[in-house]
Symmetry: C2
Subunit: 364 residues, 2 copies
C-alpha cells in the first residue's frame, strides 16, 4: 500500500513558520504512529513569483492535482502590492481553488473555551460558539466574465461579473446540508435576493435541493446584510451558513474575528470525490500572511496545525488521529501556553511559534 | 419666501408608525419655532404596489424630484416576498436612489452613551464609538447590466454585473473626504482589489482624488473582508469609511449592530446640489420595516426622528435646530425613557412608539 500523499505549499509571510510546526507533527505521526505521508513541497504566491515570475507554476498545479491533499500556509504581502493583477500572489491561490474545482470552503467559527475572554464580544455571546460557514469557492464574482478595466467614452470603467449556474448552487448546497446533518441539522442560506437576480436563483435552488433531498434539515434564508448583523448580535442562532464566494469572504472573516480565535481557525476547501472516494482538498488557515510579524517567531501555528487535523479527517480517513491532534491543541491551551496573539491575561509570557509547536507535539 | 418642502413616504411595516412621531415634531416646529414645512405624503414599497400595482408611481417619483427633501420610513415585508422581482417593494426605494442620483449614502455607526451596555460587544470596544460609513448608492452590482436569470445549455444561470466608472468613484470619494475634514480627518477605503478589477480601479481613483484634492486627509486602504474583521475587533480605529454599494450594505449593517443602537440610527442619501445649493436628499432610518412588530406600537421612532434631524442639517440649513432635536433625543434617553427594543435594565417599563414621540416633543 502506498503512503498517503500531501503537497505542502508554505507560501509567504508567516506561512513557512507555521508550516515548520506542522512538519514536526507529521514527523511525529511517522515515528510514533506508523502513519507516514509522502510529503512534497512547492511554491505558491509571492515566493513563486520571485522564483518563477508567476504565483503558481504549471508543474506545481499538476502536482496539486495528483496528491491526496494540499496544505497551504498563506500568500501575499506588501512587497507584492504593486504587481500586475495577473501575477498577484492571490492569483496562485485562486488558480488552485478553480482548477482543483474546490467548490465547498468549510470555515468553522468556533470559540475555544480557553479563549472566550478574548473576543471583542461579551462572553455570553460567544462562549461555546460553534458555527460552520460553507462558502462557495469556485464561481461568483471572483471568476465571472467579463471582467477588467475598460475605456468607455472618455473615462475608464471597472467591471466584474457575478455568475452562478443552478448546478454550482446545487452542489455547494448539498455540502452544507450534509454537514448540517452531522451537526445541529440547521442551515441558513444568505444572499441578496431582494436586489440581485443571482440571489433569487441562489435562494430558489437551495430551497429546491432542500425540499427534494434534505427535507429533514431545518432551512432558513436571510439577506446577507441582515446576516452580517445577526452574526454580530447573536451568532449562536446559527449552525451551518451557506453563502456565495464574495459574501462568504466577508461573513466568514467577521465570524472568525467574533470568536476571538482568528489565529486559531483552520479551513478546508473540498471538491468532487477522487477515484479513492475522498474529495479533492486544500487545507489552509483562515488567517493571512501577517507580514507585520513574519520572520519573528511570533506567529501562532495552531490554525495551520488544525488545518492538518482537518486533512487527517477529510482526506486521510484518520478521524481518531484528527481527534487526538485537536485534543492536544486543547490541552496546550488549557495549560496556559500562549503565543503573543493570544495574550489577554496579565503576567503570562508568550511562547514562540516553535515552542508552541513543540508543546503540541509533547501533548500528542 | 416659500416654505421648505418635504415629501414623506412612510412605506410599509413600522414605517407609518415611526413617521407619525416625526409628524408631531414637524408640527412642533411650525407652532413653536415658526418653521413651517410644506409637507406632502406619498406611497412607496408594498403599500404602493397594493394601491397601484407598482412600488413607486411616476407621479411620486416626480414629486420626489421636485421637493427639498424626502423622508422615508421603510419598505417591504413578508406579504410581498413572492412578488415578481420588478415590482418588489425594494425596487421603489432603488428607483428613488437611482433617479434622484443619490450617490453618497451617509450611515453613522454611533454608540449612544445611555446604550453602551446594550451592544453585544464589550463596553470598552464600543463606548463613545462614532464612525461614518459613506456607501456608494447608485451604481455597482445593484444596477449594473447585464443582469437577470438566463437559460444556458440545459440549466439556468443568475447574472449580475458590478460596474464602476471613474467619475462615479470620484464623486463619492469627494463626499467622504469632505465629511472627514469636518470629523476626525481620516478616511479608510474598502474594496477587494486583490480579486476584483473594479476594486483596483476603486482604489486607484480614491487615491488620486486624495493626492490631488485632499492630501491633508489621512487615507488608508483595506480589503473589505479585513474591514469586516476590523469593524468587529476594534471599530474605534475608523473615522470615515468609504466603500461601494454592496460592501457598504453589509459593512454598515454590521457596524450599526455593533453599536447596539440599531433602532436608533438615521441615514442620509445625498446627490448633486440643486439650484438652491443644497443636495438632492433622501433621509431614512437604517432599520427595516420590522414586520414582526408592525402595528403594535412597539417600534422605536428615534432613527426616523434623527433622520429628520439630518434633513434639518443637510437640506434645510437649520443646523441649530438639528442640534436641538438631537439633544432632545439624548435627554429622553438619559431620563431612562425606553421603547421595548432598548430594554436591558431590569424593572424598566417600555414606553410605546407614541409615548416616545411625545417625550421627545416635550424635551424640545
Ligand atoms: C487572499 C484572498 C484571495 C482570499 C479571498 O478573497 O478569497 C482570502 O481573503 C480568503 O478569504 O481566503
Ligand atoms: C431594502 C434594501 C434594498 C436595501 C439595500 O440593499 O440597499 C437595504 O438593505 C439598505 O441597506 O438600505
Amino acid at each position: 500500500m502506498t503512503n498517503p500523499s500531501l503537497l505542502i505549499l508554505p507560501g509567504d509571510g508567516i506561512g513557512p513558520e507555521v508550516m515548520a510546526e506542522v512538519r514536526k507533527i507529521i514527523d511525529w505521526y511517522g515515528a510514533k504512529r506508523d502513519l507516514t505521508f509522502d510529503v512534497s513541497e512547492g511554491l505558491v504566491g509571492g515566493c513563486s513569483y520571485d522564483a518563477h515570475g508567476t504565483p503558481l507554476t504549471d508543474e506545481t498545479m499538476e502536482q496539486a492535482q495528483s496528491v491526496d491533499a494540499v496544505l497551504l500556509g498563506a500568500v501575499g504581502g506588501p512587497a507584492y502590492d504593486n504587481l500586475d493583477f495577473s501575477v498577484k500572489p492571490e492569483r496562485g491561490l485562486l488558480r488552485l481553488r478553480k482548477e482543483m474545482d474546490l467548490y465547498a470552503n468549510l470555515r468553522p467559527a468556533q470559540c475555544f473555551d480557553a479563549l472566550a475572554d478574548f473576543s471583542s464580544l461579551k462572553k455570553d455571546v460567544v462562549a461555546g460558539l460553534d458555527i460552520m460557514i460553507v462558502r462557495e469557492l469556485t464561481s461568483g464574482i471572483y471568476f465571472g466574465e467579463p471582467r477588467g478595466i475598460f475605456e468607455e467614452g472618455n473615462e475608464r470603467v471597472g467591471i466584474n461579473t457575478q455568475r452562478y449556474t443552478e448546478s454550482e448552487i446545487e452542489r455547494v448546497a448539498r455540502s452544507a446540508f450534509e454537514l448540517a446533518r452531522r451537526r445541529g441539522n440547521k442551515v441558513c442560506s444568505m444572499e441578496k435576493a431582494n436586489v440581485m437576480e443571482s440571489g433569487i436563483l441562489w435562494r430558489e435552488v437551495v430551497q429546491k435541493v432542500h425540499d427534494e433531498e434534505y427535507a429533514d434539515v431545518e432551512l432558513s434564508h436571510m439577506y446577507a446584510d441582515a446576516g452580517a448583523m445577526q452574526l454580530c448580535r447573536w451568532p449562536k442562532q446559527f449552525d451551518v451558513i451557506v453563502t456565495d464566494n464574495l459574501f462568504g469572504d466577508l461573513l466568514s472573516d467577521a465570524a472568525a474575528m467574533l470568536t476571538g480565535s482568528l489565529g486559531m481557525l483552520p479551513s478546508a476547501s473540498l471538491g468532487a470525490p477522487m477515484s479513492n472516494g475522498r474529495p479533492k482538498a486544500l487545507y489552509e488557515p483562515v488567517h493571512g500572511s501577517a507580514p507585520d510579524i513574519a520572520g519573528q517567531g511570533k506567529a501562532n501555528p495552531i490554525a495551520c496545525v488544525l488545518s492538518f487535523a482537518m486533512a487527517l479527517r477529510y482526506s486521510f480517513d484518520q478521524g481518531a488521529e484528527a481527534d487526538r491532534l485537536e485534543k492536544a491543541v486543547e490541552k496546550v491551551l488549557a495549560d496556559g501556553v500562549r503565543t503573543a496573539d493570544l495574550l489577554g491575561e496579565e503576567g503570562v509570557q508568550p511562547v514562540s511559534t516553535s515552542e508552541m509547536g513543540d508543546a503540541i507535539v509533547a501533548a500528542l
